[in-house]
Amino acid sequence: MMKNTRSGSYAQPQEKTVKLSTVLSALVILLVYAAVFVAEQTLPSTSILFTVLKKGATYALVAVSMNLLNGFTGLFSLGQAGFMLIGAYAYGILTIPVEQRMNVYQYYDGGIVQFALPVVPALIIAGLCAAAFAFLIGLPVLRLKSDYLAIATLGFAEIVRTIFQWDKLGFLTNGSNLLREYPTFNDFNIKGADGEVTLYLSTLVPFIIAGVCIALIVLLLRSSYGRAFMAIRDDEIAAEAMGINLAKHKQIAFCVSSFFAGIGGAMLAMYQNTVQAKAFTSAMTYEILLIVVIGGIGSVTGSCISSFLFVACSEWWLRFLDQKQMIGNFEVPLLRNGFRLVVFSIIIMIVVLFFRQGIMGTKELPDLFKPRRGGKKPKRSVKEKAEQAKENAKEALQAEEQITLTAAEAAETGAAVAAEAAGEEAASLKDKAEEAKEALKEALAQEAAAAAEAETVEGGEA
């Protein structure tokens, strides 16, 4: 009944290109790592490039973890800074060398923890701590709908911040004071006997940590669970009707995301050399959210790229906007402290308003290497499509007419109030209206696209 000329032959090349593009992507990633390694050995280690790369890698992980929630599971959570804080503190508390504790916990007699863990176990525990908190808070709040969830998680982050600053817990958290002296990125450099660095790894290691974590997230997204998350994002009700336990899967996504946010927090602690709860404000969450948006909600690649761009722009490239610049004798107007942030926020608003897809949309790295399909389509299918679109449009129009009529009826009998009370009727009515609108939009878009395509094809032939 649906015989098509392209039948069957379509799937095969698809498979092949997937493989090719995967290989190419892997190559690109490998090149990036190699470049980082080489740059680190050749350029002076104090170059700001490395500072930016370290923070970029950290933010990339956090942004991807946030994307897992917001972009792939459709849970709008604003608690990221809170989970990072937990991770950062867990890492700091567990890794400060025992002999330094008296020094760091200067007001709390060296604190209660009197041992130090190696970096990797501490990182994992940092993630687990964040995940454990996420589990507890997730039980009640994940039932909430989108924006309520956002505000509840935001509130949660604020509560966490307060608790960690409370001086009565100072024996553990050092109260309002800094945690420091724990291993930082620079401790990954390999030093010779004379104390000189023989092999620089302080940038590569954060790249590796972030890379491994992001790879794990990508694997998760590609798994059956990842599909379930995306199904929940696309349509919660349908997902539930298809046998997906919403509570369980939301909880999993929330905990996994927080786990990696915790590790990201620990990385941030290593980057900052010190940890202080004060820095983990909602502004930090917003920053990460904006990174996700700029990169494209629902694209891991996008989050990674944009986090490096974001960090580089805000903390390096645009810094010159904060200082007076002279071109010859002419002083460039407007440039003074704070201008960088103004320019930056305007760029962000432009992205949010006009480039809603962000850098990558929902595309991933391998998608960039796939041949574009549009150009290959035979002319006939274009015409078919156009016709189909027109038909759809007609149908939608009719449907809408009908809805307007029924809506008018509803209005007569007491407008919206009655419509709501009527339960099923209201629901079906509204759905129909939505459906029709969507169909109409789609149809119009399809028609336009088809027309455009037809034109280009014809143009090409002429």
Binding site: S7, M230, I244, G423, E424
Partner: protein, 279 residues
Amino acid sequence: MREIVMQMDNVTMQFGGVVAVDSLSLDIYKDEIVALIGPNGAGKTTAFNVATGVYAPTNGRVLLRGKIIAQGHPTGKMKHMYAGTHIGEYNKLISHTPDKICQMGMARTFQNIRLFKNMTVLENVLVARHMRLNAGFFQSALNLNLHEERRLRRECSDLLDMLGLSDLMYENAASLPYGKQRYLEIARALATDPRILLLDEPAAGMNPQETDELSDFIRKIKEDFNLTVFLIEHHMNLVMDISDRIYVLDFGKLIAEGTPEEIQKNPAVIAAYLGVEEE
């Protein structure tokens, strides 16, 4: 006596003061195709929603293959507002979430198509297999269940092949034409391994020729998948063509039941559909 696959006992669904479904009782036997018809706003979709666990019934119960999947009686404010009958018969509250009911073998489609729009056709179907996954979370999350994953993909692409959607396997679900989206929704429901399939207006928006194709298709899947089918539909040709039995709802009440021939002749049904000259 044949096995009853699904049974509704005196199901009442009341929203505020409005009784959407009023003491509905029906039985659906194995291997039947049963239709639920009625004018707009008769409460058909509400009945579906109660059966699939979206709404908990205000009163009454639903059984799936002999097991109670939903049972309720008026509580809280509803105690005073309740306008239905059979009060006090269903004292134990039982409710399952829709996912649990789906796992127990009842799958559905939606009146307004609810596909996972940003996922491919194949992925849409794969999602429906998720609950039957053997691998645990970590095994799956680390992609260690390659074998199972490959099997799932094969099964799903076979299913799509069977439904004539295989050439669209890697298309985005949202980019499918309307008719195909309806078929995809059915394919997705079938992928959950259902015993009984609930179709909510599967022919909505289809032209007569497509509707005919659809009725053949429903018969075919019923045979191939060994299904029981329960559907809501407005296209009378389709209903009369494929139904073994028909239930008719009007203002939430069951006004008739019987074979297509009986229903066509039933004066109450005719009155409900065409309206009766008063006096």
